[in-house]
């Protein structure tokens, strides 16, 4: 059983059984433990904790580990930072206990098994404090802890003062492994919750900003800083992430992608503008759900590619000359900017190009791939015959028509499509297309395609599904596309 602050005041302790607890406090509220909800909450807290340092690791099941080296002075030192974190967590309704130590293991142990909040860095005082901790602080499994307990080794000091070899032989090497790590004799790294991006810029606000215009302005200002960082390393951003930390602890990520390495601050700001526009369309009331406002806005380049400085120079020159004549490089740059902007607002999968496939089945002969993904392998080409052999517009689902043919396997004489009767004036066909039996299920039937022109001059791509007599007794007709 776990206990919250109110329960502790009643004298209940974690680990007590529910019946015992009920004996102490009969009107106890017991809530079933929800593991997944706890994991989600912990992940959210880890996410939130990234406002203090980019290196925040999830320490399941009940901890978040922050690497604050080089970050704590921004918050007025370790003690102030710790107090700040605990206070902010308390405001979110979370009872948090934190400890600062020079190693992750020591911090873990102090937070859980001692009242020490700021462990000293020097070895001797640290050792004294560590020795006072119970053996459970070594993060051992319950069996080992019980075995150590039975052997009379209650606290870490008992282990530390004894010769190592017999203890290691009996209880495993891990006992000393953790101890050494705790004392800083061996190193262990925090595995962060997210890969920490190489380029981060952020802005902090005393009061939360809630207005969209202000948020966009901040992002624009941050993009300038980010671009300066990228430029000094000769790189451009492929993926960007703006993270908004709300005052009450909620975190909002906004992702934007670029189809080429991007180092143009206004272009970056525009991408986020489009993302926000798109978000505003789906959620009418408040796209950002700003609530009381955001107090930290961070912009990170989560994926970067080398960007040739020459290209940047060319773009500059193109702009200086004015917009009258575009060089090829400038045009390509502008086009990819456009693709990114359209993709940011409409969705990447709505800006597509055709890629030819090695198949003759009409629906599969061409696939659409997002332009943002780069160069296509092959664009569709067509043989230049007297009249086009493929329609301009293709229906995703062929539309059934009522057709009358003079002979069962001949071309139609007239057909009715969308309640209009069309008299066939000219026909070319059939073009027989067999299903790819090695790919599709056997149910697909052979299609005989006809290019048909009615008396008005409207041109259709009709097919008859199924070979008469051998595949089906009553072949059905469909319109699959329209010619110009």
């Amino acid at each position: 059983m776990a206990a919250d602050a109110a329960a502790r005041r009643l004298g209940l302790t974690p680990g007590l059984s529910l019946t015992d607890a009920r004996a102490i406090a009969p009107d106890l509220d017991a809530v079933e433990h929800d593991e997944s909800a706890q994991a989600r909450r912990l992940a959210a807290i880890a996410d939130w904790a990234r406002r203090f340092t980019p290196l925040a690791a999830l320490d399941a099941p009940d901890g978040v580990m922050l690497d604050i080296s080089g970050a704590s002075h921004l918050f007025g030192g370790d003690e102030a930072l710790l107090r700040d974190i605990e206070q902010r967590l308390a405001r979110q309704g979370v009872t948090g206990i934190g400890a600062v130590a020079s190693t992750p293991e020591a911090a873990w142990a102090f937070a859980r098994y001692s009242r020490v909040r700021l462990a000293p860095d020097e070895e001797k005082p640290l050792l004294r404090l560590v020795c006072a901790l119970p053996v459970a602080a070594l993060r051992l499994d319950a069996g080992t802890v019980a075995a150590l307990d039975r052997a009379g080794l209650k606290c870490i000091g008992d282990i530390h003062l004894r010769p190592r070899a017999p203890i290691a032989a009996r209880f495993g090497e891990k006992v000393f492994g953790t101890l050494d790590a705790m004392l800083g004799k061996t190193r262990s790294a925090i595995s962060p919750r997210f890969e920490s991006p190489a380029y981060i810029v952020e802005r902090r606000f005393a009061d939360g900003v809630a207005a969209r215009a202000q948020i966009e302005d901040s992002i624009a200002a941050l993009s300038i800083e980010l671009c300066r960082m990228l430029e000094s390393h000769g790189e451009g951003a492929r993926r960007l992430c703006a993270t908004l930390f709300r005052v009450d602890g909620a975190v909002r990520h906004i992702h934007a992608g670029a189809s080429r390495p991007l180092r143009d601050a206004p272009a970056m700001a525009r991408l986020f503008h489009e993302r926000l526009e798109a978000a505003g369309k789906t959620r009418d009331e408040d796209p950002l759900d700003a609530g009381y406002g955001f107090d930290v806005i961070r912009l990170a380049a989560t994926a970067v590619d080398p960007l040739d400085p020459v290209q940047h120079m060319l773009a500059q020159k193109g702009k200086a000359q004015g917009d009258l004549v575009l060089s090829d490089a400038e045009r390509a740059a502008r086009m990819s900017d456009l693709v990114d902007r359209l993709g940011a607002r409409l969705g990447v999968r709505r800006v597509m190009r055709f890629e030819a496939q090695d198949t003759h089945w009409p629906e599969h002969a061409v696939v659409a791939t997002p332009v943002a993904e780069g160069k296509p392998r092959a664009a569709p080409v067509a043989a230049m015959t007297e009249a086009p052999e493929r329609p301009l517009r293709l229906f995703e689902n062929p539309e059934p028509v009522e057709a009358i043919a003079s002979v069962p396997d001949g071309p139609p004489v007239r057909f009715k499509w969308r309640r209009l009767m069309h008299e066939v004036a000219a026909v070319e066909g059939p073009e027989r297309i067999s299903p790819e039996w090695w790919k599709q299920e056997a149910s697909a039937l052979t299609r005989d395609y006809f290019r048909i022109e009615d008396r008005e001059g409207q041109r259709f791509w009709l097919f008859r599904e199924g070979l008469y007599a051998s595949e089906t007794a009553r072949p059905r007709w469909y319109v699959h596309g329209l010619f110009a």
Partner: protein, 315 residues
């Protein structure tokens, strides 16, 4: 708020609550159009000229962007009738096309794509095909092999599917402002009702500054009724025309290259000689997809005799 002024009924929109500098979507703001439209209907020529000049002055002062030089292109090879009648094609403007009837949409699509091919012939940029979600489902989605067979370089084609009218018009404007595309074809579909005079003005300005042309495909019959004069350079009404040619190896006639019946609903403003041009006549032209230009149907007299004016009545 309504003001009665000189016989013209002005209606000014109520002040918007959200920030006036950046309304959520400009294409949803329909109120100003009404005022402009009524003015042009009842205002005297001097007044219209004055308003035009004021507008031009405002735009110069506000944007400060110079117009891109206008490139002149030809519809077809030398001697093609449209080049004589219209003075050719001009970059940096809007072109509007509409099918005469529902069934002519594919023909109008073909005409729009053919125009874009003409623009792309002397320009290296990509060709953008933009459509509304609904139109792609209802009228068929653009088909790569078919577009390639129509004479367009499919490798240069980028197609954009917007989720609604305002988004589509926004995308067209962005593409026009960008300046990189050789041509933009927009299948307006259901977005046509968002395409008011304000939207037309915005697109025209964007096209003028970047020098890119946009071909807007309207829904069927859009030009059958009188329309407000927006800034589009030319307006075509398209219908399909029989292309059947006697086949060499078959007794049946086979479909030939695309034949379009084109009514010049609004001839260009560049050509001074368009005065007296018959805007009711439907002219038949052929799109030569193998070489990428338009040409006249073999005999104008014959096609004219085979029922030009009565096509709409028969529908």
């Amino acid at each position: 708020m309504a003001i009665q002024a000189g016989g013209v009924f002005f209606w000014s929109p109520p002040p918007t609550i959200d920030s006036p500098a950046q309304p959520r979507n400009l294409y949803e703001n329909k109120t100003r159009t009404k005022v402009l439209h009524l003015m042009s209907a009842s205002g005297s020529p001097e007044r219209i000229r004055f308003l035009r000049e004021t507008l031009a002055g405002l735009e110069q002062a506000g944007g400060g962007m110079a117009a891109a030089p206008v490139r002149k292109l030809a519809f077809g090879r030398e001697g093609f009738s449209f080049d004589r009648l219209l003075g050719g094609l001009f970059s940096g403007g809007l072109y509007e096309a509409a099918p005469a009837r529902m069934g002519d949409l594919a023909a109008a699509t073909g005409f729009a794509l053919a125009l874009s091919t003409r623009f792309a012939a002397s320009h290296d940029g990509p060709i953008l095909w933009m459509s509304d979600e609904f139109s792609a489902c209802e009228n068929g989605a653009p088909y790569g092999p078919g577009i390639a067979a129509h004479g367009l370089d499919a490798a240069r084609l980028v197609f954009v599917r917007a989720q609604g009218g305002p988004d589509l018009l926004w995308a067209v404007e962005e593409a026009l402002r960008c300046g990189a595309p050789a041509a933009i074809v927009a299948d307006l579909g259901s977005a046509a009702r968002h395409f008011d005079l304000v939207a037309a003005r915005r697109l025209t300005q964007a096209a003028r500054i970047s020098g890119a042309p946009a071909i807007l495909l309207h829904p069927a019959g859009a030009f059958s009724r009188p329309q407000a004069q927006n800034g589009a350079r030319m307006r075509f009404e398209i219908c399909a025309r029989p292309s059947a040619a006697p086949a060499q190896h078959s007794i049946r006639p086979v479909p030939g290259p695309a034949h379009f019946g084109v009514r010049l609903a609004k001839p260009g403003v560049e050509a001074g000689r368009m005065t007296g041009l018959d805007t009711e006549l439907t002219r038949t032209i052929i799109w030569d997809h193998r070489h990428g230009f338009f040409r006249d149907a073999l005999s104008l007299a014959v096609s004219a005799a085979s029922g030009v004016g009565d096509r709409r009545d028969s529908a």
